[in-house]
Amino acid sequence: MAHAHTTHHGHIHHVPKETLFKVFGALVFLTLLTVAASRVHLGPFNVPVAIGIAAVKASLVVTFFMALKYDNKVNALVMMIGVIFVGVFLTFTLFDTAFRGDLSNVDPMTIAEEQRMAAIATGEIEAPTGGHGTAAETAEPATPGGHEAGAATMAAGAHAEAAPADTLDAAALLQTYMCTSCHAVDNPNVMVGPSLYDVGSRLTPEEIRQSILEPDAVVAKNFPPGVMKATLQASGFYDKVTPEELDAIVNYLAERKGN
């Protein structure tokens, strides 16, 4: 690298001293100009003016101080490609970041979910009983109040006496994390997702855990992949759930073997 230059000694680029001083004078002038311009309120033009002056200064340095004007044109090409890629980097990043939120008017439900909800509404699929996970409840965020109400409902539910004593908490967790918005726990009804009524007889505890942590690793037959993962991600489940809570949920679900 260091000796590349010695190969073209035949045409050394002498930049005249006067040119160097003139360029320096121009750079000092442009520095004062950009300071002065920033003192004046130009509305939306302050930023482009400042960046424009900086770009002119940088071009002067590259062209004359770095002598790119007199140098091998391949070096100029390398420099330009680099600058273009900086432009690509900046532009494409801004395509993302500057327009976030503009797309928030999309429907939170997938088409498959909407169809299933419509089918429930028209009676094609029997609406789940027991008060858990109706269409109306799906739209409601989990609240501390809802959490306690859910726990109370579960405690009073038909399965409360069948479940081990320490599953009360897990049942409440299923409410808190809105699992019950898409999965029936107390009955075999199919909602957005399969019923968990008998999941303990279908899956091992390890498989249940995997189904929660990696919903798309194995997807139940006739159910669309991606829905559960997207929903859990959107609700912040993966950020909030603790290992103890996860254990409680898995143990609880492993006990669900139907009747």
Binding site: A4, V28, A54, F89, T97
Partner: protein, 197 residues
């Protein structure tokens, strides 16, 4: 050619930070507008002129050695090193001035006190910490480049004193000069973006 490729990698290194700056500025323009007031444009402007002068002396030093003027080379290299020293000294006072008022990067951001007519506590608004984190990271990495440049120039000056360079061979001077001009160019953009707008 190899040196220019290296310079491109340097540009791309800084471009990541420039993109971070741009993204946060687009999101919170008013906070960046306000936070820039805390940076003294006079000190930033002084440092800009100091670096521009050092770029001139580097270009002059190459001009002189092309004409076999070893004294001109040496004097201009020494002026360049002194300019770099002035730059870092000013930067040191800027940093300590900010630290004294709790303006730290990251989670330790807790501005307080009054200086230069600014009530620092008034700058404790959301995303001001991001501005100053970006400021410290960008100027910090730029400062590291200045320090590296000072080290290389010291080595070049020692070699120039020993008479290693002539119009036949001055490649190390030229490549160090290219690096130094790039450091100058980065600052040409940092100054208006951080101090002025």
């Amino acid at each position: 050619m190899g040196m220019w490729l290296f310079l491109i990698t340097e540009i791309l290194l800084f471009s990541g930070m420039f993109v971070a700056y741009t993204v946060y500025r687009v999101w919170h323009p008013e906070v960046f507008d306000m936070s820039a007031e805390l940076l003294d444009w006079r000190l930033g402007g002084l440092n800009t002129l100091v670096l521009l002068a050092s770029s001139l002396t580097v270009a002059l030093s190459i001009h002189y050695i092309q004409n076999d003027n070893r004294k001109g080379l040496l004097i201009n290299l020494i002026i360049t090193l002194v300019c770099a020293g002035i730059f870092m000294t000013v930067k040191y006072f800027e940093y300590t001035g900010k630290f004294a008022h709790g303006v730290f990067p990251g989670a330790n951001f807790a501005p307080h006190g009054v200086a230069n007519g600014h009530d620092y506590a008034a700058f404790n608004v959301p995303y001001a910490a991001q501005f100053f984190s970006i400021y410290f990271v960008m100027t910090g990495i730029h400062g590291v480049h200045v320090l590296v440049g000072m080290g290389v120039f010291t080595w070049i000056i020692i070699r120039a004193r020993k008479g290693h360079f002539s119009s036949e061979y001055y490649t190390p001077v030229e490549l160090t000069g290219l690096y130094w001009h790039l450091v100058d160019i980065i600052w040409i953009f940092l100054f208006p973006l951080l101090y002025l707008i």
